[in-house]
Amino acid sequence: MPTTPVLLVEDDPTDFRLIQRAFNKISDGFQMFRLSDGDEVIAYLSGEAPYENRGAHPMPALVLLDIKLPRRSGFEVLQWLRRQASGLNRLPVIILTSSRHSADINRAYDLGANSYLVKPDTGAQLEELASQFQTYWLRMNEFPSLRPEIAR
């Protein structure tokens, strides 16, 4: 199985550690890297400094995005992303958040989120989430092409 680059956007260090641990337990089919605020995500996806080198900072095949982030929120990142040209607008985004509010859920879908997951309460549930995520997104889903330089 080829290695899929997955971008995790999570500002809370504890949540980050828990998510990383659960995902590492279930799979070696992906490479997860983390950013912790909305401005960084936009710089990364745009390939701005210090992220110009795509060898070191590959374009992710999908993004796991928290909503509550310092500086630009997850919603603002999503809105920015869906307005981009040259295929970046297609990048699949899965919201991973602690909010169960229907206003947040609806807003995420209105802004073009591909899926909305609520962070589970226990480590076992988080591993189950990681396992379903792997089976579905990494093994079955077909990803779009994002940019001319990484087109198939």
């Binding site: 607008n89 699949p92 859920i105 609806n106 209105d110 899926s115 909305y116 997951l117 579905y136 077909e142």
Partner: protein, 155 residues
């Protein structure tokens, strides 16, 4: 979760053998959610809009998930996605494209029109059953669906 009302899944698929395999897959995966199977894009549009015989949302509830083939008689899956995109709350409903077409241009077009995910139908029934199970575990059990107001568009 168990006390929750089981939300409807809409399957839009014109090929009878494929639909049979998918529906059987749902049974095998113990999917208790009602699955509404429609065989063309115009029917799917009427169902989602709540028009014609589909005016009663109690009887024909808005789905929590749509599994959409692209090659359909009449209105295509791509045209249905296009239509959904400019609707009100209907545009929020997650759409998983489920098709034989693995052309990268088609995949890109589907995502451009807001498809939530894109799956290529496997060739054999065991793999289809596995795919249906993964769909059920991910989209029915794990994913939070949008909140939709249950009313017909034309009432």
């Amino acid at each position: 979760m168990p006390q929750e009302i089981l939300r409807t899944i809409l399957l839009v698929e014109d090929e009878t053998p494929d639909a049979m395999l998918l529906l059987r897959g749902f049974q095998k995966a113990d999917v208790l959610n009602p699955v509404v199977h429609l065989t063309n894009g115009d029917e799917a549009l009427a169902y989602l809009a709540g028009i014609r015989e589909y005016g009663n949302r109690t009887q024909y509830p808005l789905p929590a998930l749509i599994l959409l083939d692209l090659k359909l008689p009449g209105m295509t899956g791509i045209q249905l996605l296009q239509w959904m995109r400019v609707q009100g709350e209907i545009r929020r409903i997650p759409v998983v494209v489920l098709t034989n077409d693995d052309n990268p241009d088609t995949i890109d077009a589907a995502y451009d029109l807001g498809a939530n995910s894109y799956l290529v139908k496997p060739g054999n029934s065991a793999d289809i059953a596995r795919m249906v199970q993964a769909i059920q575990r991910y989209w029915v059990k794990l994913n939070e669906p949008p909140q939709l107001v249950m009313r017909a568009g034309q009432q």
